[in-house]
């Protein structure tokens, strides 16, 4: 994805992660990294997938993405337990660059404290943290 984009329907964490909570399933969230994060990392060559069942704590790292430049932690925007990981990234980690909000999703979690979402940013507030 060549152009910066921050979809309105997502929630954002200042450490450049997003969470998608489907109103029909408010107890779960899909997580990924933002356009800004993948752009800063450069070409992603590996995603170290955490195991299903792992417990995530908001603001703590839960996985790693490796690009040609650096290995970086992925920080949990919300707390919960992993119910699914994006297995397709093992063969196609570049989906994180090409489609960070779609095919490049990382994990799906069952939320342990849905109220935490109130602390996350909306697209406009997150974009503002990037300094234009």
């Amino acid at each position: 994805m060549a152009e910066a984009s921050y979809p309105d329907e997502l929630l954002y964490h200042p450490e450049h992660d997003w969470a998608r909570i489907d109103p029909a399933q408010p107890g779960e969230a899909t997580l990924g990294i933002t356009w800004y994060a993948q752009d800063a990392l450069g070409e992603v060559v590996f995603f170290e997938a955490p195991p299903v069942g792992l417990t995530l704590s908001k603001d703590e790292p839960y996985a790693e993405v490796e690009s040609v430049k650096a290995v970086s932690d992925v920080v949990a925007p919300l707390s919960g337990e992993i119910v699914a990981v994006n297995e397709a990234l093992a063969d196609d980690p570049q989906a994180i660059n090409e489609d960070p909000y779609g095919e490049g999703w990382l994990v799906r979690i069952a939320l342990s404290d849905p109220a935490e979402r109130d602390a996350l940013l909306d697209a406009q507030a997150y974009s503002a943290t990037l300094g234009g």
């Binding site: 590996f46 490796e66 430049k69 650096a70 290995v71």
Partner: protein, 450 residues
């Protein structure tokens, strides 16, 4: 600087920052300085206490071997392009160094029969220790089961590292010179991260590598088998089955026999090769072949997943410039020997080592320590004190080998002597060794009896 931080003197800085309890409170007890000429004379006197392997007939080995190093290697190693550079982060100015790494990796892959080799690590023992950490990263388990046939120094290094990464090391004894397969199988449990052995082992014996790997894979009852690690002597791989073809997952080893001199024990390099599934867990770096924008062949650093320049404060490996120069000596040596040369060399070592064992064990008071096949080194047990025999042999200009007990500290090694053969030791040299050892043992027996 002192003014900027508001301190009057260096002494005051130390007084304020270093707790009194850890300060020495007196001057260091160092000798007075010496003039340059005096230092030279002093160092010369110290250097004269060394005995070069060229000044005596030496059968020392036990991990470092006196192979011939062709002049070609010095010529290439001393080229400043190879001698002085740092890590080749910029491929556009580092093609020579990167190509050497790539060729080195290719040679190690061919020798070991494993698909991936890194660009070398520091030396053999730390390569074994790094394999232990790879296993921990791979399966997260807590125990390393090691054969007592691994070099005692390598086991010691592994124990030191394992303490740091929170693993225990369990040693499996030998039976008639090789790893006791029953004890090996029994020692492996569901928490066993890796099972490690040496080929050939420290006592010179050739292990049944395939049987050890298969036994380890079937043992323990965990959902996946332990990582099988073999510490190999690369010089034997022209003759012995490559580790990759006998079930080994990770092959490590001391690279010194390949084109590196003894050099007082180092520096040398360590080899590290593995199956592809361990690729991202490997220490160090891997150089890869690619093409530039014009389609021309070129080389780059491809993978360095655990290094500090990519992982910053969370790095778990720091092998950057490493032993690239020593590994260069290794790959030049292999290229110099060639595919047939390494086989011929292995066959020559095999024949001479067996000849030497026959000659030595035919002597009164000298017995084989085990009955296993040997390839480049063998262990004997003397009826008399090894140090005394060595000292008698030294008077005849022969260093007959390593006092095994002095090196290993193992009670069962008392009286043991490890004798290494290289292509530099001729049959006539071996005959002389037999004569000198035979006379020394006989004289020592008489002295003890008297």
């Amino acid at each position: 600087m002192l003014a900027a931080i508001g301190v009057g003197s260096v002494q005051e800085l130390f007084d304020r920052q270093v707790p009194a309890g850890v300060r020495l409170g007196r001057a260091l007890q160092l000798p007075d300085g010496m003039g340059e000429q005096d230092v030279y004379a002093h160092l010369r006197e110290l250097a004269a206490r060394n005995t070069s392997a060229e000044d005596e007939l030496s059968f020392l080995g036990a991990g470092m071997y006196d192979h011939y190093v062709p002049a070609l290697i010095d010529m290439l190693m001393e080229r400043s392009e190879f001698l002085t550079p740092y890590t080749p982060y910029q491929p556009e100015i580092s093609q020579g160094g990167l190509q050497v790494m790539f060729e080195y990796q290719t040679a190690i892959c061919e020798l070991t029969g494993l698909p991936v080799s890194n660009a070398s690590v520091y030396e053999g023992p730390s390569a074994l220790a790094a394999a232990g950490y790879l296993a921990k990263l791979h399966n997260g388990r807590g125990r390393l089961v090691v054969s007592a046939g691994l070099h005692p120094h390598a086991i010691e290094t592994l124990r030191t590292y394992a303490h740091g990464y929170g693993m225990s090391v369990v040693e499996v004894p030998l039976a008639d010179g090789v790893t006791d397969v029953d004890a090996w199988t029994d020692a492996i449990d569901a928490d066993t991260s890796a099972a490690m052995f040496a080929q050939p082992n420290f006592y010179g014996a050739v292990e049944d590598a395939g049987a050890l790997s298969a036994a380890a894979k079937g043992a323990g009852g965990a959902d996946s088998p332990p990582v099988i690690v073999a510490s190999v002597d690369p010089i034997t791989l022209g003759v012995l089955e490559p580790p990759g073809e006998c079930g080994v997952d990770v092959a490590v080893g001391e690279g010194q026999p390949l084109g590196n001199r003894l050099d007082f024990g180092g520096p040398s390099f360590g080899l590290f090769a593995a199956r592809e599934e361990y690729l991202r867990r490997m220490p160090g770096r891997i150089a890869g072949e690619t093409v530039d924008v014009d389609g021309r062949r070129g080389f780059v650093l491809t993978l360095q997943t655990r290094e500090q320049h990519i992982r910053r404060e969370k790095a778990t490996s720091n092998i950057c410039t490493s032993q690239a120069l020593n590994a260069l000596g290794g790959v030049v040596y292999l290229a110099w020997l060639g595919r047939r040369g390494i086989v011929e060399l292995g066959e020559l070592l095999l024949a001479r080592t067996h000849y030497a064992r026959e000659r030595l064990t035919a002597l009164d008071g000298v017995h084989a320590m085990h009955s296993q096949p040997v390839i480049r080194e063998f262990a004997v047990r003397l009826d008399v004190d090894v140090a005394a025999v060595k000292s008698r042999c030294a008077r005849g200009g022969v260093n007959p080998g390593v006092d095994i007990h002095a090196l290993s500290g193992r009670e069962e090694d008392r009286g043991g002597m490890l004798i290494a053969i290289t292509e530099q030791r001729t049959r006539a040299d071996i005959d002389r060794l037999a004569d000198v050892v035979g006379a020394a043992v006989a004289a020592e027996r008489q002295a003890v009896a008297a």
